[in-house]
Amino acid sequence: MKTTGKVTRIIANLVSVKVDGAVAQNEVCYIKLGDIRLMADVIKVDGEKVQVQVYESTRGLSVGCEVEFQGHMLEATLGPGLLSSNYDGLQNNLASMTGVFLKRGEYTAPLDFDKEWDFTPIAKEGDEVVAADWLGEVTEGWLKHKIMVPFKFQGKYKIKTIAGEGLYKVNDRIAVVTDENGNDHEITMVQRWSVKQAITAYREKPRPFRIMETGVRIIDTFNPIAEGGTGFIPGPFGCGKTVLQHALAKQADADIIINAACGERANEVVEIFTEFPELDDPRTGRKLMERTIIICNTSNMPVSAREASVYTAMTIAEYYRAMGFKVLLLADSTSRWAQALREMSNRLEELPGADAFPMDLSAIISNFYARAGLVFLNNGQTGSVTFIGTVSPAGGNLKEPVTESTKKAARCFYALAQSRADSKRYPAVDPVDSYSKYLEYPEICDYLNKTISADWTSNVSEGKNIVLRGREAFEQINILGDDSVPVEYHDRFWKSELIDYVILQQDAFDAIDASAPLKRQQFMFEKALDICRTKFEFDNFNECVDFYKHIINNMKQMNYSVFHGADFKKYETQLNELLKTRIAE
């Protein structure tokens, strides 16, 4: 018997229900309104009075409406067919909804239950298995989707029967396993998991030890993110957060990209819907959409589903990690999620923390970031979830609660600077304020020096130092005037401008410059460093400025040309000629 109740109070999407039985915190329920049902979940229990947050508009709801509780928390449905799908925050398939407008109370199935998949067993009868062990696989697009022992299964099981090769629907039985007490359990290709709980059915979560290539120079060269690492991008509006996120979604070296559009502009998601089915993944030649899953709860969609959307996205990411894939999860923006928490906390009349956010904001954010990571699976293979979130700080102030809480949780900090955006230096990641903690990991440094070049990490610190010293020189020149400082100051400043223009800045809208593979990044960075290490001779500062402008222009043309192509070589030769004219004896 399901617990039921009746609505007693309505304030916006916070509804009180008087119940007749047991309910659990976060349990899902449906409120009947005429012939539609509105989904909600329990956020506070006080005796027989239960507060629920409704995932839809409560317009037209009245006291006395019936409520039916479901006996489980908000769950994601996991199985073949997730890839390339477009879901809302509650995992409704947006593509199978009818009509131009979203209809209230219309919930669509996340998976196609009629589609047949070609199953091949991996395990065999008599094998001993635990949760997340691979039983078999089906071909989902380009990847081998593993059918696993459900994550909910605890303890050891013995496989009693397993299906042979053949076509099966997701709800067909593919195995029967026996637990330690001798009870049989049926397994299908689909399982459900509460989105708020981390999936921990793996052997070990070590410290990250290799980087994830993104093709963005200011990230890969200056502040690399680890595979299985965490990072965040705070920035005022208009600084290119979204362009940078889209660049990562297009270029990052991951098997699967999950885009959680959380409380942001609908047109930005439309860009992904429109472009990703057309764009090629340069690494595999497949269409980008073939490795993408979109979880979309835009700013005008119901607020309480925003929180659900990031958790749904993370759960799907963990599911694919358990199959041994390299998953990149992008969430834009986690501030909107925090704001949804604030709206609810406010209606619940909880005592507010800083800026009226709930007191446990910091804990909620840390918990969420902690779900990312590279893991060793039960079979020794690796799988990873790398997480990069954006933060939209109110008024561009990085001292606000969401940014500060996230800074404690994420290991890479890509601060977008208004001043860089104003002077159109994109991506506007501040080269001095930003950091990657992974550069302090010895295992990451070893990896970089082994895979790129022996002196790579020391070169990177040298490059950072040049930028920092250039900034100091610039301040001196500004205070004292062009003529009143030694020419060396100009030389120092322009060397940092060289690094800035050629390495740090990147044209996300140019077909070639948009994505730079590590090999190319190495070549250009070492070239730029060589120039920075060279001593040049100038009679006055005008000569110096003019010289570096020519060099920068030349190297920018190299960035725009096919790597080691004819044009590239032409500009490289010109550059070398140019350099010779000024080299000091």
Partner: protein
């Protein structure tokens, strides 16, 4: 007009400046009612205690006022008869005409399924270089002017609206001064464009809370023309700061804990619900929103412009250029996020690079100016940059110039050739080979 099933109550329990509460049965959330003849909306139901927000304020309402529930949320009668008409916040005509016939539709309705949206891809030309060249407007876009109260934002907005090639222009005026309202009316009349204009107006003479109805009314009308008639609709919302102020009044009366700048914690979602109505529909219709957000002392970190900036697809700033005395759209701070979808595609191939180079050189001029003001010597380059900036501002940027994008690009190339070398312009070589005017 009371109907048979309507229940009438005459006992108010509580009255605040903006709300009343009473005991009532079978009331639905967000339905409308009249309290002493004034329009009100249900905002809270606790058992049989119902709270209503009275749009016109509660001054003079007695505890025995008559309360009639209407059993439905706010609606607008939509039809072709809306065109050319002027309405108040309740959708009642204020131009002396009769109420147009049409189908009754709920305002503040559901969102478009993001998966059914089309990517905006049509440029809306305005002839103003500060927009077409540097911050291109695209159909289905939402973009506000961030302006100080003393800037001529309403004039610029009406100029943009009248030059824009669209089927309908819908003005939502919130806290518009009567003078400004008459200005809009007159400029629409003078342009002979009245048949494609629809106005929903709340002037400063009207109660502030009524403003909350205006955007939903304007957008319900817009959705009719865009969805049912596949028309290109441009919606003008001025001034959204006054709308947000009205929100904060209501939330304050509801005893909600304010967040930044005394604004309600839900400000972002409240504004997003309005702006996200901007859409490119699959069957060709579109809603484009141009809004005005007035700033206080140019402060864009205040909660209203800040939240707006995160929602809208860019923002436009006005500036009086001190060198030429002309009003221009500020090339540095203004931004159209959707311009990438059309520039160099619907416009000439050199558009993106020319735009960026011109702004970079204009920025060099601004640095040179600072240098000059600080008493440092100017280099030859600085002098050339300054002259370029003056010319650029006068012959291209100024909003009284009305030219097409090809002409804008040609004029910019001419200025590059006049003041700079190719190395200084630093544009892709193949474009310079093709368009450079030495």
């Amino acid at each position: 007009m009371a109907k048979a099933f309507q229940k009438i109550y005459t006992q108010l329990e509580a009255i605040t400046k903006a709300t009343v509460s009473l005991h009532a049965q079978n009331v639905t959330n967000e339905e409308l009612a009249t309290v002493d003849g004034r329009l009100a909306q249900v905002i809270k139901i606790d058992g049989d205690l119902v709270s209503l927000q009275v749009f016109a304020g509660t001054e003079g309402i007695p505890t025995n006022a008559e309360v009639v529930f209407m059993g439905e949320p706010p609606t607008l009668k939509v039809g072709d008869g809306l065109a050319g008409r002027f309405f108040n916040a309740y959708g009642k005509p204020i131009d002396g005409g009769v109420e147009p016939e049409g189908e009754k539709r709920e305002t503040g309705g559901p969102s478009v399924n993001p998966f059914r949206r089309k990517q905006p891809s049509q440029i809306i030309p305005t002839g103003i270089a500060g927009i077409d060249l540097n911050n291109t407007l695209v159909s289905g876009q939402k973009i506000p002017f961030f302006a100080d109260p003393d800037q001529p934002y309403n004039n610029v907005m009406s100029l943009v609206a009248l030059r824009a090639q669209v089927d309908k222009i819908i003005l939502g005026g919130m806290g518009l001064s009567n003078d400004d309202f008459l200005f809009f009316k007159k400029s629409f009349e003078n342009a002979g464009a009245l048949d494609k204009i629809i106005c929903f107006v709340n002037t400063t003479d009207n109660p502030p809370v009524e403003r909350l109805l205006i955007p939903d009314m304007a957008l319900a009308a817009a959705e009719y023309f865009a969805v049912d008639k596949n028309e290109k609709v441009l919606v003008l919302l001025t001034d959204m700061t006054l709308y947000a102020d009205a929100l904060s009044i209501v939330s304050n009366r509801m005893d909600q804990i304010p967040s930044k700048d005394s604004m309600p914690g839900s400000l972002y979602s409240d504004l997003a619900k309005i702006y996200e109505k901007a859409v490119q529909l699959p069957d060709g219709g579109s809603i484009t929103i141009i809004a005005v957000t007035t700033l206080s002392g140019g402060d864009i970190t205040h909660a209203i412009p800040d939240n707006t900036g995160y929602i809208t697809e860019g923002q436009l700033y006005l500036r009086r250029d001190s060198d030429t005395g002309k009003v221009v759209i500020d090339p540095f701070r203004s931004l159209s996020r959707l311009k990438q979808l059309v520039i160099g595609k619907q416009t000439r191939e050199d558009h993106p690079q020319v735009m960026n180079a011109a702004i970079r050189l204009y920025a060099d001029a601004s640095n040179a100016k600072t240098k000059m003001e600080n008493g440092f010597d100017l280099t030859d380059y600085d002098e050339r940059a300054l002259n370029f900036a003056k010319d650029y501002s006068e012959s291209i940027l100024s909003i009284d110039i009305n030219i097409n994008t090809v002409e804008m690009l040609d004029r910019t190339w001419a200025l590059f050739g006049k003041y700079f070398s190719q190395t200084e312009a630093a544009i892709k070589q193949d474009l310079m080979d093709k368009y450079w005017k030495g």
